[in-house]
């Protein structure tokens, strides 16, 4: 009997990841979304090594798309009212918005998942308390919550993370709670309970991994929302402090001058829309794939 041991092959972790990526190919929508998102992620990563003008230096104001720069290079996307290179600002802006959006979403997710699992699995008093807090937070229109928190705490990256956690956390908590409530009546959870597993292990090792499908879809959508929220705050003048490039702020500054330098406002708007579109397509495609199985 022992000879059979050799024949048992353990599947490799790399293989699993590759298969997961391969699944994306089943949905053209997901592929398109992934391509759009990857484009901006790659841009954000290689921004420092790209031959770009500085995003902060005023060079020549109001240059059109493709105008020649004084140093012989080209302003591929023109310059803004202060003479800063728009291409450079859009790419550096993508880095900034992606970093803060990812960070805030991750923090919101950690808080939301812990709260949601506790409310759903432990139930009773825990559920009442956590759900009430979530209800109170959810009764604020999101943008008003952002405005209140940022105008109270001041505009900074960390405060944006806090604001996103307050604004998104309750929503995540509700989704997780719902999933946990559904999953906790499964027999494998009863099996874990009847072998005396501690509550934390049941929540985080037995339950949550099985809720990953809907959560992956939700996290794609939510990353998109967070990018929008950060850009919107920038547009409203409550975002990451200048002068670092911020898509929302770029639009805000360009709009009043739109009649003779329209590209300065259209380009960041297109950049922002394409990134959100990427997240939404990815979420749609992943949902479609997960429904097929």
């Amino acid at each position: 009997m022992d000879t059979t041991n050799e024949t048992i092959q353990r599947p490799s972790a790399l293989g699993k990841i590759l298969r997961g990526m391969g699944l994306l190919r089943e949905s053209p929508i997901a592929m398109l979304g992934a391509a759009l998102v990857m484009f901006w992620v790659v841009m954000a990563i290689i921004a420092p090594i790209l031959p770009l003008h500085s995003p902060l230096d005023p060079i020549m104001p109001f240059q059109k798309i493709g105008a020649a720069a004084p140093d012989g290079s080209t302003f591929w996307l023109g310059t803004d009212h202060k003479g800063r290179d728009i291409l450079s600002r859009v790419i550096w802006g993508s880095q900034r918005v992606l970093i803060w959006a990812t960070l805030s979403t991750v923090v919101a997710y950690i808080v939301g998942m812990v709260m949601g699992s506790m409310a759903g699995y432990l139930g009773g008093w825990w559920d009442e308390a956590i759900s009430f807090v979530a209800n109170v937070l959810l009764s604020f229109p999101v943008m008003i919550l952002y405005i209140l928190i940022i105008s109270y705490l001041g505009a900074s990256g960390v405060n944006i993370v806090i604001a996103v956690t307050f604004a998104s956390g309750p929503g995540i908590m509700r989704i997780v709670r719902g999933l946990v409530l559904d999953l906790k009546n499964r027999d494998y959870i009863s099996a874990a309970q009847t072998r005396g597993e501690p509550a934390w292990r049941i929540m985080f090792i037995e339950l949550l991994p099985n809720a990953r499908g809907p959560l992956i879809v939700d996290s794609c959508l939510r990353l998109g929302y967070t990018v929008v929220a950060i850009a919107t705050l920038g547009f409203l003048g409550l975002g990451l402090p200048p002068p670092d490039p911020d898509w929302g702020l770029m639009i805000k500054e360009a709009v009043p001058l739109g009649s003779f330098a329209g590209h300065a406002m259209v380009i960041p708007a297109l950049a922002l829309s394409s990134l959100i579109l990427g997240f939404n397509f990815l979420a749609d495609g992943v949902r479609e794939i997960s429904l097929k199985d």
Partner: protein, 310 residues
Amino acid sequence: MLVMLFKRIVAMALVMLVVSLILFVIFETDKLAVAGKVLGPYSSVEQRELWLSQNGYDASFSTRYLKWVGNAVQGDFGSSLQLKVPVSEVLWPRLFNTGILALCLFSIMIPLSLTLGILAGMKEGSWLDRSVSTLSVFTTSIPEFASATLLTAVFVFSLKWLPGTSAMSDGFEWNQMILPVLVLLMYDFGYVARMTRASMAEVMHSQYIRTAILKGLPYWTIILKHALRNALIAPFTIIVLQLNWLLSGVIVVEVFFAYKGFGKLLLDAALFGDIYVIEACTLVAVFVAVFSQFISDVGYTFLNPRIRFS
């Protein structure tokens, strides 16, 4: 049913109370800062303390809070620091303007998105379904201020068909309403149409629709009598809950087009530090949101006989 209504109302009041307490703690715990906001940054500590005792700030926190809540319930939110008039004098006209915007939006969005969503969900995979689905992903993916930017670039700067601001400085003008409504419509339409489509598609796959087909009912009887009634429950609650979202979207749109509505009032107040206006606006916004939640819950119960009679 009555018990449910009663419980919902109590829950609603409780949420409002907690929200008001949070607001009061945030903005009025530090009395000197309040006085600083009122008297300006260069006022001295003595001036501030004098103002505080003149305006009843010597009382305990709980007394002040109760008095504030009492006044707020009667519509007295104090005076705006920026505009130097009672808050209620600016708040209600602004809210009315936003109401007009919302009315225009809903009167176009509801018939449009419900019709397209139903038609798309009736025949999954048809060209109409695909186009509605793709269109709605596109429009919901473009944030309001980005679509405002793009529409402005096209209709205002390139084609010069429409005005770029909607301040209505010379009285009400319809063509100033077009862009704000269009921007809100793009996002909202996509969302509601998608939800309606999903709900309709789910119903069309259900076993009771199969029963209706195999009973030999004519196609349109199946759609109108058996499918719609169930398929419209979800969109109803979604549309009502859109009010909450609209209060967010409206801030951006009103700021972008300089429309004198509630959202712009709130943002200006937030940027200026006009605490009484912020408090008033937030309370009103949360009330609208909580109330729409209440309506959607009640409506859901009413539309769904499974809950109504159990």
